[in-house]
Amino acid sequence: MGTLPQNQAALDRRADAQARLRRAGAGLDVRHLPSFGFGHRSLMWWGTVGLIVIEGTVFAIAIGAYLYLMSRSSHWPPAELPPDYGWATLNTGLLIASLLPAYLAKRAAEALDLPAVRRWVTAGSLASLLVLVVRVFEFTSLNCTWDGSAYGSAVWMIMGLHTLHLLTDAYDTLVLNVLVFTGPLEGKRFADVSENALYWFFVVASWLPLYAVIHGTPRWT
């Protein structure tokens, strides 16, 4: 039956859905079942989680390659200064803060509360744009170039991969943002909003180990 429901309301929903199945002779009548669902009940969730698994593996491999190259060199960074942590730490804070509008958008979507969805998706769009702007400053304060050394290559690759995710998810959010105002809307668009928030959670969560690797490892060794 899938995972345990969170609360009584969800339990009731489940019972209702099952009750709506009707036996009709040799057939099982499904016409009264809902026409969309949230969380792992929806196909979009599975698609999003699949993407998260894939991209998470990419980040894990990138970190692995970085640590491998680090293990093979006596000085790390070999000749450069470690990256400045000012802008990066600010952006990490902004990313964590941006979890709030994403979470609220998700909750609003799952409650089918359109005005709240509009409010929080807009906030989420603005947050992602702000993060992108600060990300530009992060790049300027890395203290290394991609072609200066294998260290620089690894740092820029990691930053590049994560920034690509920021960009694409910011764009996704923007598109949804327009859609929730203009329509055409239907039930499963609320599921799209919910899954978009889920992906943003991943973009933020994946940043934390990357931040630790880029800014932590040169200072620990």
Binding site: R31, H32, P34, F36, L43, W46, G50, P78, L112, S149
Partner: protein, 668 residues
């Protein structure tokens, strides 16, 4: 449309009613929907077919999203690449038939073996397995469609464009020439100037994108779209194999994606991932590549195992023995496959203790495969055999893969590998396992399911001829290569001296290769001819037990008008129990039943998208981005614009479709 009169509307339904009052919601289409009965009427079947069919014409072909249309294209494209790869191999064998031969010079030969390996591994083997799953899985699980049909189409086009790019480069004499594995520093900027290697590396990007998307599609399909009652425990073993394979794809492909991206940046913008003079490492490439590369061969092998279970069950007239052990073996093989990769690097200066660990793992992975082999033998021994060509091809596994697996154990041992690594012994081994474990079962599977998708049987006579020619030719071609390796012949050599004493076995191998080619040619001729001349097949020419045999041949565009309700592992063999099927799904528009993940209880109805050319356009834009970025990094920036436009127009809902969906909307 709200629930039945006896149940009060849910709180969410009320919230939905409030939300849908907003102008952003179009007015629901007021055409009354036509829902299916059990049993469905002829008119309902015909409406279903009309709703799910792909549009005609050229624009229709570019807009097609039906999983059978895409699946068929996908399989045929992959088989086309198989033929191309085979022709390349034939040229290689002709060159090697005589010592010091001048037929093919070193430059061309190095391109030939690079293109042969690259074609077979990236453009044939993995795609064809996913393509067969695209065709078969929805039918075997009782679904009307595959999940994410538009993305499925996009994945096909991306794959096609990647393959075309690679062959275009080859035909223009700028094709890759550093092997299918492209070791650095040979493939790096210093030793492979020009664009040859970049085409190879970017082809990887195309094919891994396609494979990853297909993996997500297949996992979602298997978990969410199974017919009611088809618990995981009742899923056909072939579906399990494709589920396991898809998980492996998700964890394996990122490694080669990262590796090839780093190679491209080393070559294009001066990064130093693989440059030892600036802190990089040549072995980083090997670790990354083989972390992908070893699971890759299991991505090819595990679907073959799935084919074996499907065909053996039908032609032994009994379910495969030991279902739980078979499933656990598939899963164990998948996990273990990720722990073997260093056995490709035994000749490198890595710590010896670590290498021994990989010896143990590489031998251990034989255990789950052995379990499967024993279970199949048990099935065959206690079954009653219907001797038809699909069974012949599948049974070849028991000689060919078995031998290849045993030579694999030899390669797993570090000291022995240090002698035979990078020699023709490995060439023998890999062809025994890939052809015995994947290609022969694939051919058996194609012959088995051909009548389902075309309505005609392939010729039994041509089938047997093709089988024996292929089987004998294969062994004549590849068995001598074990000896060649043991007698010191290394791999990837365009020629060899007369004094080596290798020419007799090489000549024999070339002869065998030509016999194998003849067998393959007969198979393709059979495939082609049977479209018009094959004996008409009904819905179930073999008496199979799984759900695809319950549909017409070829199936309705929507597969099942009345989605079956499943009560056991062999739904067509076991007695029907009520409820037999699902009623109440729309047939005049695209509606699919979504079930719960583990127990497959009906959960909700979902409206599915209609054909659209935007996946094709998106793939074109993606191809432009990928190909452009071979020449300049700015292509990534500029190329993102048309990609974003295409993807946005793909996703953006259409008013009319939304209105149609709203007519059947019920909140959870």
């Amino acid at each position: 449309m709200s629930g039945p009169a006896e149940l009060p509307p849910t709180a969410l339904q009320a919230a939905f009613d409030r939300a849908s009052a907003d102008l952003a919601f179009p007015a629901p289409d007021d055409r009354p929907p036509v829902l299916n009965d059990v049993p469905p009427s002829a008119e309902q079947e015909s409406l279903l077919d009309r709703s799910w069919r792909d549009p005609p014409g050229l624009l229709g072909a570019l807009s097609a999203i039906n999983h059978k249309t895409i699946g068929r294209r996908f399989v045929l494209t992959a088989l086309g690449f198989f033929i191309a790869g085979g022709l390349l191999a034939a040229l290689m064998r002709l060159q090697l038939a005589r010592p010091d031969s001048q037929l093919v010079g070193p430059d061309l030969y190095n391109q030939l073996f690079t293109m042969h390996g690259t074609t077979m591994m990236f453009l044939f083997a993995v795609p064809v397995m996913q393509a067969m799953a695209v065709l078969l899985v929805p039918l075997m699980i009782g679904a009307r469609s595959i999940a994410f049909p538009r993305m499925n189409a996009y994945a096909y086009w991306v794959y096609l464009f990647g393959g075309l790019m690679l062959y275009g480069a080859f035909l223009l004499n700028i094709g890759p020439d550093t092997g299918w594995f492209a070791y650095v520093p040979l493939s790096g900027p210093e030793h492979s100037p020009g664009k040859r290697v970049d085409f190879w590396a970017q082809m990887i990007t195309f094919t891994e994108l396609s494979a990853l998307l297909e993996a997500v599609i297949l996992i979602t399909t298997v978990f969410k779209l199974r017919a009611p009652g088809m618990t995981l425990n009742r899923m056909p073993l072939y579906v399990w194999a494709m589920l396991v394979t898809s998980f492996m794809v998700m964890f394996a492909m990122p490694a080669v994606m990262f590796a090839s991206t780093a190679l491209i940046t080393d070559r294009l913008v001066g990064t130093h991932f693989y440059n030892p003079r600036e802190g990089g490492d040549a072995l980083l490439w090997q670790h990354l590549f083989w972390f992908f590369g070893h699971p890759e061969v299991y991505l090819i092998f595990i679907p073959g195992l799935g084919f074996l279970s499907a065909v053996i069950a039908t032609f032994a007239r009994r379910p495969v023995f030991g279902y739980p052990a078979m499933v656990l073996s598939l899963i164990a093989t998948a996990f273990l496959a990720f722990g073997l990769w260093v056995h490709h690097m035994f000749a490198t200066p890595l710590p010896e203790l670590g290498k021994s660990f990989f010896t143990a793992m590489s031998m251990l992975i034989a255990v789950p495969t052995a379990v499967q082999i024993f279970c199949w033998i048990a099935t065959l021994a206690t079954g009653r055999l219907h001797w038809k060509t699909p069974l012949l091809f599948v049974l070849a596994f028991f000689a060919v893969l078995l031998l290849g697996g045993l030579s694999g154990l030899m390669l797993a041992s570090v000291p022995l590998d240090l002698q035979v690594h990078d020699s023709y012994f490995v060439v023998a081994h890999l062809h025994y396992v890939l052809i015995g474990g994947a290609v022969f079962p694939l051919i058996g599977a194609v012959i088995y399911w051909y009548p389902k998708f075309t309505g005609r049987l392939m010729s039994e006579r041509l089938g047997r001829w093709s089988f024996w020619l292929a089987f004998v030719g294969f062994n004549l071609a590849f068995f001598p290569m074990h000896h060649l390796g043991l007698h010191g012949m290394p791999r990837r050599v365009y020629t060899y001296p007369a004094e080596s004493g290798w020419q007799a076995l090489n000549l024999l191998a070339t002869g065998g290769a030509l016999v194998l080619a003849a067998g393959m040619a007969l198979f393709f001729i059979n495939l082609w001819r049977s479209r018009r001349h094959g004996e008409p097949a009904g819905a179930d020419p073999w008496g199979g037990g799984t759900l695809e045999w319950a549909t017409a041949s070829p199936p309705n565009a929507g597969n099942f008008c009345a989605v079956p309700v499943v009560h056991g592992r062999e739904p067509l063999w076991q007695a029907a129990t009520e409820p037999v099927a699902v009623a109440g799904l729309a047939v005049d528009r695209r509606e699919v039943l979504v079930s719960t993940t583990l127990e497959a209880h009906p959960d909700h109805r979902l409206s599915f998208p209609v054909p659209t050319p935007w996946p094709f356009a998106g793939a074109l834009a993606t191809a432009a981005l990928f190909i452009g970025s071979i020449f300049t990094p700015w292509a990534v920036v500029w190329g993102m614009v048309p990609v974003a436009i295409a993807l946005t127009l793909w996703f953006w809902p259409r008013r009319r479709k939304t209105a149609e969906d709203l007519a059947l909307e019920t909140a959870p």
